[in-house]
Amino acid sequence: MRTIALAGLVLLWTAWAAAIPGPAAAPPPQPATVAPPSDLAAGDTPNDAGQSISLTWRPSPDEALGVEGYEILRAESAEGPYAKVGYVPSGFGSFDDQAVPRDGRDFFYRVRAVGAGIAPSEVAAAGPARSSQQWYNAARTNALVGTLLFTLIVIYFIQGARRGRHLFIRRIAGLAAVEEAVGRATEMGKPILFCPGMDPVTSISTLAALNILGQVAKKAAEYDTPLVVPNRDPIVYTVAEAIVKEAYAEIGRPDAYNHDSVFYLTDSQMGYTSGVNGIMARERPATNFFMGYFYAESLVLAETGAATGAIQIAGTDSITQLPFFITACDYTLMGEELYAASAYLGKQPMLIGTLKAQDWSKALVGLLLVAGAALALSGPGLRQFVLRLLSID
């Protein structure tokens, strides 16, 4: 990632450096001669979409004598003609030519040290080099192994669950309370408020929140308790509405669904917060659910809810906001518990199977941490090896 950013930076920089005029032309008295850069090497940029050749060289030993930077020149044959394709300031020894005209064709490069008071000096041409695109990003192998491993573990436990193996799951207080919280709203004849977080549908915590919404909506439909779902994101709104409607249909009461219960409020963070505050103050919901990803507004929502005397169940994977939910809500699903919730509430064996898979993966992570630490303590060579395994580009 950092290399990409750096490459982009260098590219922008060259464009910019090329765009500004050079220093005013004052005839230098006696151009000094400097040793050229050396050991120029050119080759395809690895793990990319092609049309890029990476160059490295050893900077001129005489940089201090007035080398301001290096011009990068490219040609289609060793003899030239060479054209300037980039510039980097002195001190740098590498450049990615990201504007190679075609993949699979031979190119030759030269690097020339330049400066106001010196005669340009060039390194001998390097090449031929060809750019090509890769079909596999080798720098992401560890992520690939991780993804495959995790997928396999999940599938294994789902298969187990399908074959009817019984799986134990421990109690989570916040989820055990859902039924009771819905029941209380019913008794009091007050609505249930459900906020599906502040993030768009592109964030997985929002999807987890929507899964929980499905379960809560079914309970609300069963008890015939009104549900209020204000939304911040247009797409989340459409999905939330579909979910609630289906939940009513599944319980067999499609007619009881109120079209105004799931609605769009506004995209503005604090606008949404003030709107929800208004709802809490006026409709006095007996139960508030705050599920999904939240930002600074978490405490405003939860404290307002506490002031109205509602039972509050929050769930978020936003680590920075967890402390505020914990202090202001009755129950809080912390981090991973948010994702586990729909399996708990739905009680379908396959969903519970994935919980088991998550546990095994956690054990694996813990084991790897211990093993990694032990290896690291055993010697510097192994330590480097372990760190390299985990390095990400």
Partner: protein, 213 residues
């Protein structure tokens, strides 16, 4: 069929974009970029639905003369004025006066309310700590003590009590605090991955309704 097609779409696209992450080639890059662009175009219709929902919500209030119904007019007028001025003043029409009014409305009406709402947080911080920082259980006591130490560490009074308090506060922030956050993050990572996988594989299908059978 009604449910099969959406599930198939999720499966195919999900697998495709998982693999795309590992394939740097040009075709893969271009597909990725184009898809995101197409997705934006497609999604702008959700905004139409959302806007419809909001207008409907307020129209109902006005029609039923619900308590405070006249405020719904304020919201509807706000949408119309702000949206209208912004589009007239924007690059499509470039009306200077509209752009000027739009900027002023944003700077002197919308932004101040935003910061005021943000500032309210400080008050809720006070009431939440007063109400909830109680030594009810051992865990709650730990929370209370660590919050207390850090709060003391920030203000001059803490250092007056004992000169090491600021150092302790800093250490708590940097060491145990970080360890716990990291531990939680591992769980979140696995939970999020599992959820994504469940949706791609069609195990979690409550978004279709029907709760998955």
């Amino acid at each position: 069929m009604k449910q099969k097609l959406p599930l198939l779409i999720v499966l195919v696209l999900g697998i495709f974009f998982t693999i795309q992450f590992f394939v740097p080639s040009r075709a893969s890059e271009v597909t990725y970029q184009t898809t995101l662009q197409w997705w934006l175009v497609m999604s702008s219709f959700a905004m139409v639905l959302a806007l419809g929902s909001l207008i409907n919500h307020h129209a109902l209030k006005i029609k039923r003369r619900k308590e405070g119904w006249w405020n719904s007019w304020v919201t509807l007028a706000g949408i119309a004025v702000m949206g209208g001025l912004g589009i007239l003043g924007g690059p499509s029409f470039r009306m200077g006066w509209a752009n000027d009014a739009y900027t002023r409305l944003f700077l002197f009406v919308q932004a101040p309310m935003d910061s005021a709402m943000f500032a309210i947080l400080a008050f809720y911080m006070a009431s939440a700590s007063y109400r909830a920082f109680r030594a009810r259980s051992r865990e709650a006591t730990v929370l209370l003590v660590s919050g207390f130490v850090v709060m003391l560490g920030i203000i001059p009074f803490g250092a007056m009590l004992w000169h090491r308090i600021p150092d302790i506060a800093e250490w708590v922030m940097m060491v145990p605090n970080m360890a716990s956050k990291r531990g939680i993050l591992f769980g979140i990572g696995l939970g999020a991955t599992a959820t994504a996988l469940k949706i791609i594989l069609g195990i979690e299908r409550s978004w279709l309704g029907g709760g998955g059978k």
